[in-house]
Symmetry: C2
Subunit: 237 residues, 2 copies
């Protein structure tokens, strides 16, 4: 069972760590979106949560409501919950998200869903454009591989109308791009797993095939170095 529990009324979904993005998207009713883009990446949903998401322009871990993981010492730890409650404190959920496995192995995770349908815009762009996307953009990343020039991909959680202020040229980095008004509906999960046969990790420079607002990502790339204090904390769990 990859999708363990879907609660469309409460807008939450609980999946096993091994759930693929395609399985997650296939289980959702139309009009509800998870906090992960429609991309198949190594490790499925669990991989995305462990790495802290991919391409998001919002505070990713706020949409991770709870999770269960097995600590380095073998303890099974349940953090957070399965409901959208603005309760924080004494919570290990945010500590686990983006910790690249340093705190142990993820078993399952509950994600918040939000209303919408993805519209995607693709065009030329650079790191500066990525930093200056309009607030309505939910995801954005640069792809260095699929075309001769850097490609900027932006996802909006709805049809892009005149309410999206500014356009990709606002940053002054790529003069020939149009506005985001020609963004097109996304109808399927794009499979990128074959691009990262050795796993998705962090890299810099030309090695980075894709880049989001946090990291450059590469096939077989490393995880960021774990600070000693964080390592001690992991060992205490």
């Amino acid at each position: 069972m990859s999708v363990l529990e879907l609660n469309a009324a409460d807008q939450t979904v609980t999946v096993s760590a091994s759930c693929s993005c395609a399985e997650l998207y296939a289980a959702l009713p139309p009009g509800l979106l998870p906090p992960v883009p429609p991309l198949e990446l190594p490790g499925g949903v669990g991989g995305l949560v462990t790495r802290g998401g991919f391409g998001q322009l919002f505070f990713f871990s706020a949409d991770v409501l709870g999770l269960t993981f097995h600590s380095p010492s073998g303890r099974r730890i349940q953090a957070g919950g399965r409901t959208v409650k603005n309760v924080q404190g004494y919570d290990l959920t945010r500590l686990f998200v983006g910790s690249f496995g340093a705190l142990g192995e993820l078993e399952q995770v509950t994600l918040r869903l939000r209303p919408g349908h993805w519209s995607a815009w693709t065009g030329p762009g650079g790191p500066e454009a990525l930093e200056q996307l309009p607030a309505q953009a939910r995801f954005g990343w640069l792809d260095r591989v699929v075309a001769p020039d850097l490609q900027l991909r932006v996802l909006f959680a709805g049809p892009v109308s005149s309410t999206v202020t500014g356009n990709a040229t606002g940053a002054g980095t790529f003069a020939d791009a149009g506005t985001f008004a020609d963004a097109e509906p996304v109808t399927q999960v794009e499979d990128w797993s074959a691009r990262f046969p050795r796993g998705l990790g962090v890299a810099t420079g030309p090695a980075a095939q894709v880049q989001d607002a946090r990291f450059g990502w590469a096939d077989g790339g490393a995880r960021p170095d774990v600070p000693p204090l964080f390592q001690r904390l992991a060992e205490s769990l």
Copy 2:
């Protein structure tokens, strides 16, 4: 020095833990708002961060960019940073926020600022109304003391116009409330410190003088029980 560094261009402010809310607000240029309401509560800004905020309807710790604290073993720990970067992972900031002092003593904190001016609405309301406020509401809480009936206070980060959909009666809990359109500008920090001479803590039932979406708060109330696993984690720092 209570306000240590204000960066209006980057929309961040760094303050000492002892900074009062009034000092924080006095230091901000008009049109920039911190993630804490214009209320003086025990412990100032540091108290608010340690308790996980007050009354917020957004993900509070996402607006805490970084902090410095002294762990129970005496170590000085810097978590996060001073810039608005969507970088998460290996980060103790979220762990500290709302931990009620279990991880040690806060020294200073950097908060994200957002554009806006507070408009406040006050009227009758109950817990159900608090759960169903429109998305434009940034803060909301119930006050059991100032009037014979429960008072609902809602803060919006801008003039309330017809774009605020729904009204307080939407929850069906209090039929006589008006719409939020009569919200009024907030011009000063309300001093509540005299209401909590023994400190602000958590309580339930009649003891709770004010209640937000997370907790009932009372004069001299306790902190929530610290789970054993969290306690172990605190001792490792």
